[in-house]
């Protein structure tokens, strides 16, 4: 089913919300406004022609330096209709979005992981703590501005061999852009 067909089903059931079909190569992608997310998800789960009973995963991508910076991605599965759907929610830097735990209970940990890795806050989440990283960790490692590959000798105070800026410059230099 095309994104436009799904939006046609959604539109009367979620009045006033602005859905936007996304570009995709595999299955339908729909951009959902953050304030209508829970409502939309309930409709997607329960509406007879859709029945997205299973939440496959929740993840995010950091599009620094673009703004809104993050896209939170939900993959849904409808077994009875043999459908897949990708929901995307744009979240600005420092922004938040509502949790969908009330729609699919399995959203708890994936959302916790997104908070752990990206620092995106899910309002109303019942247990938004560190999941993969240690409890006392600082920073959110999957963000694009989180330093990586900085060589640190354990338990000593030597200066860093590669600064964060140098490292990022190296990566950018190697990041070849070619037209297709």
């Amino acid at each position: 089913m095309q994104a436009s067909a799904i939006i046609e089903i959604l539109q009367p059931l979620v009045p006033g919300a602005v859905f936007e079909p996304g570009r995709s190569v595999d299955f339908a992608t729909i951009y959902v406004p953050a304030d209508r997310l829970v409502e939309t998800c309930l409709v997607l789960r329960d509406a007879a022609p859709l029945e997205f009973k299973a939440l496959i995963e929740v993840t995010a991508a950091d599009y620094l330096p673009h703004e809104p910076r993050y896209e939170v991605v939900y993959h849904l599965l409808s077994v009875s209709k043999r459908l897949r759907l990708r929901l995307k929610v744009r979240v600005p830097s420092g922004g938040s979005l509502p949790t969908v735990q009330g729609v699919w209970r399995g959203a708890g940990w994936p959302e916790r992981e997104v908070w752990d890795m990206f620092g995106i806050v899910f309002d109303g989440h019942n247990d938004l703590r560190r999941l993969l990283m240690p409890e006392d960790w600082e920073g959110h490692p999957a963000r694009k501005d989180y330093p990586v590959q900085i060589r640190k000798a354990a338990q000593t105070y030597e200066p860093l061999e590669v600064s964060e800026e140098e490292f990022r410059a190296n990566i950018e230099r190697d990041r070849v852009k070619r037209a297709h």
Binding site: R23, S24, V25, D26, F27, K53, A54, L55, I56, E57, T59, A61, D62, V73, H75, L77, V79, R82, R84, R86, W104, R105, G106, G108, W109, P110, E113, R130, L131, L132, M133, P134, P141, A142, Y146, V148, Q149, I171, D174, R175, V176, K177, R178, H180
Partner: protein, 393 residues
């Protein structure tokens, strides 16, 4: 009679407990032997593979993702390769697809053997582990033959396979396929009607179909609860739609049902392997013909300037992938594996995210075992077949 003083006790199970499959830590609140609450703590095996992948070129990510689910490495690399190929718009030749199917099914057998051995061992049938590991050894030998690496072959590549099949591959696979069904019968004779095994597993750890979907458990756990969802049937990839096989299901949703589903799956995998090996010619194409991704053949590299340049570019700069995102699911041994990739049009991935079935299974664990006995917890963990490398990534 004096009143017996009762209070709940908090116990750490793991992260070094032998029946928690690696480094899963469960904080249990016990009332005698009855579990009041469970709090899983994960992350002990988190190695930041997804972050590391963003610093690598597209092809270099293959060995990384194989190290996530270390019992089913090639379902990870297949999911990743299929997603990248989707963005690149590549179609694989039939022979490549057949070899991929064969490897995926052999690997499902290998993974299920470890599950069978450890699961049975944890509920008392210790000898089962040795029988299972012995058969898995033959599968690791096949990996060694094709790639020189027993655990993480990295044989599946973006654009096809690493190289052609080695000599003796067909003999080795056929030898295994001839031998294995009788071993399966032996395994079943040990367990399927075993009174102790059935008493430990029947009616224990029931997951209803609705709960399975609610918690995102698609795979053997949902199929043991009455679902017939299998990615290979619903969203066929690598030519699975051209194979003749059935999806085993059960309706009880308990530990024993999951056992029966996985055993039946192994028999279906043998069946699929037989069909696949019959289709694969001993030599032939092992990659698609897209020169963006696949290096030119060696004889051309040594004789043609353009081929040499192309070879050099692929191995130094890597190739670029069009802007966009893709997610192609595959049916891994533990359920739906899938890799969500985002490309910014450069030679390195912008984001790689593996959908981990073990992650979802451990999340759902408290709801399954609450109110049960602590001994049943071990049976339930075994039956969900979690791999912590997959969960923590």
């Amino acid at each position: 009679m004096a009143e017996i003083r009762t209070e709940t006790m908090t116990v750490n199970m793991g992260p070094q407990h032998p029946s928690t499959h690696g480094v899963l830590r469960l904080v249990l609140e016990l009332d005698g032997e009855v579990i009041q609450s469970v709090m899983p703590t994960i992350g002990y095996l988190h190695t930041g593979i997804e972050k590391t992948a963003e610093q690598k070129k597209w092809q270099q990510v293959i060995p990384l993702v194989e190290r996530m689910d270390y019992l089913g490495p090639q379902s990870n690399s297949l999911a990743y390769a299929l997603s990248v190929e989707k963005l690149l718009g590549l179609e694989m030749p039939k022979r490549v697809n057949d070899i991929r199917v064969l490897l995926a099914e052999l690997q499902r057998l290998g993974s299920h053997l470890i599950w069978l051995g450890t699961h049975a061992m944890e509920i008392g049938a210790v000898s089962m582990l040795f029988y299972a590991i012995r058969e898995r050894e033959l599968l690791l030998n096949i990996n060694e033959l094709i790639a020189g690496f027993r655990f993480f072959p990295s044989y599946i590549r973006i654009g096809g396979l690493r190289e052609d099949l080695p000599r003796g591959f067909h003999e080795m696979v056929n030898e295994f396929l001839d031998r294995f069904p009788t071993k399966m019968d032996e395994f079943e004779r040990l367990l399927t009607k075993n009174d102790i095994f059935r008493r430990r597993t029947e009616g224990v750890g029931v997951v209803t179909l609705e709960n399975a979907y609610q918690w995102g458990l698609v795979g053997p756990i949902a199929r043991a609860a009455g679902s017939d969802y299998d990615v290979r049937k619903y969203f066929p990839y690598s030519g699975y739609d051209t194979y003749d096989f059935t999806v085993p299901t059960a309706t009880e949703g308990d530990v024993y049902a999951r056992y029966r589903v996985r055993i039946a799956e192994m028999r279906q995998s043998i069946n699929l392997c037989r069909q696949a090996i019959a289709r694969i010619s001993p030599t032939g194409v092992w990659a698609c013909d897209d020169t963006r991704v696949v290096p030119p053949p060696k004889d051309k590299v040594y004789t043609e300037m353009e081929a040499l340049i192309q070879h050099f570019l692929i191995y130094s700069q890597g190739f670029t992938v069009p802007v966009g995102d893709a997610y192609v699911p595959v049916e891994g041994p533990r359920g739906e594996h899938g890799c969500y990739i985002v490309s910014d049009g450069s030679n390195r991935p912008w984001r790689v995210k593996m959908r981990a079935p073990s992650f979802m299974a451990i999340q759902a664990l408290p709801s399954v075992v609450q109110g049960g006995l602590i001994a049943d917890l071990v049976a339930v963990i075994g039956s969900t077949d979690v791999v912590m490398g997959d969960c923590d990534r």
